[in-house]
């Protein structure tokens, strides 16, 4: 029976192919073995599972963890949360702002509820003046304004490179987490199967 290709996909039954039944007049035996080896090394495509992607959004790396790839989940989570915390350390809470930096926030929110919590903390602690006194912001040149009407900003507001780099780091955390959560949707379990554990125990 000549080997047939499966367009990059194979069914588990294909692994039980009996080499003695291969018609070597139609398929050279060397080529047949190579084809079979390629089938066996291919990973079957996992259908996308939205639940794991959603878990990956809730906490970076949780999607891989839940899918059974625990080490990958931890490493991916450390990468994304590392970017997020670096951004907050450099730029302060002000680098996550859903009202003043709306477009940046649209990317940042890919890192999940952590970013939403940071935005809420920004409003609660900085913009309200609870964490630091509010100071009058600069008035555009030539604008006549009553001093009491001048908008006030937190004295903890980030400026220049600190704010730019902090915003960028949290933004990158959001974008990278989208990559990570999409991977979580198709990630296969890397935990050893019960059969493999039993076989190792018998050996």
């Amino acid at each position: 029976m000549p080997l047939r290709t499966h367009q990059g996909k194979w069914k588990p039954a294909a692994l039980h192919c009996d080499l003695s039944r291969i018609d070597t007049t139609q398929v050279p035996i060397e080529g047949a073995c190579q084809t079979l080896a390629r089938f066996m090394s291919d990973t079957p495509q996992q259908p996308f599972r939205p639940l794991f992607a959603l878990l990956g959004w809730v906490l970076p790396g949780l999607g891989q963890w839940s899918a059974g790839a625990r080490k990958r989940g931890i490493l991916a989570g450390v990468g994304v949360i590392g970017l997020f915390l670096s951004g907050l350390l450099v730029g302060g809470l002000d680098c996550v702002d859903s009202t003043e930096d709306r477009l940046w926030f649209a990317g940042q929110v890919g890192a999940g509820p952590l970013v939403i919590a940071a935005d809420m903390a920004n409003s609660y602690y900085l913009k309200s003046g609870r964490a630091a006194p509010l100071i009058a912001s600069a008035v555009p040149y030539g604008t006549a304004m009553n001093p009491e009407d001048v908008p006030k900003i937190s004295s903890f507001k980030g400026l220049a490179h600190s704010n730019e780099f902090g915003t960028l780091l949290v933004f990158l955390a959001g974008l990278m987490n989208i990559v990570v959560l999409l991977d979580a949707g198709i990630r296969q379990s890397e935990a050893p199967s019960r059969r493999a554990v039993d076989a190792r125990g018998q050996a």
Binding site: P60, L75, G79, L83, S86, L172
Partner: protein, 88 residues
């Protein structure tokens, strides 16, 4: 570190306010940025997790080298090549 920066760092409230000195050393922040970026990316890409750390360090170095290369290229363009063009 200058003496004027030390009191600012001691008075710093992490997370709430921006890091003092980041405005002067902003370029150094590209190192943790490249490292964490490579970590998150390689966690999804390596087929064998044993290759994770070598791949991550390699990608970190590649990102930094590319950034330095682009910076040097742009500096040469702006500071050397463009001044050589005729004014009119």
């Amino acid at each position: 570190m200058s003496n004027s920066l030390l009191p600012t760092i001691l008075a710093w409230t992490p997370i709430l306010e921006p890091a003092p000195g980041a405005a002067q050393w902003w370029w150094a922040l590209s190192i943790p940025m490249a490292f964490f970026l490579a970590m998150a990316y390689k966690a999804t890409r390596v087929t064998d997790i044993a290759d994770f750390w070598p791949s991550t360090l390699k990608m970190t170095a590649q990102i930094l080298a590319a950034m330095v290369g682009i910076a040097v290229g742009l500096a040469l363009l702006i500071q050397v090549l463009l001044p050589m063009l005729p004014a009119e």
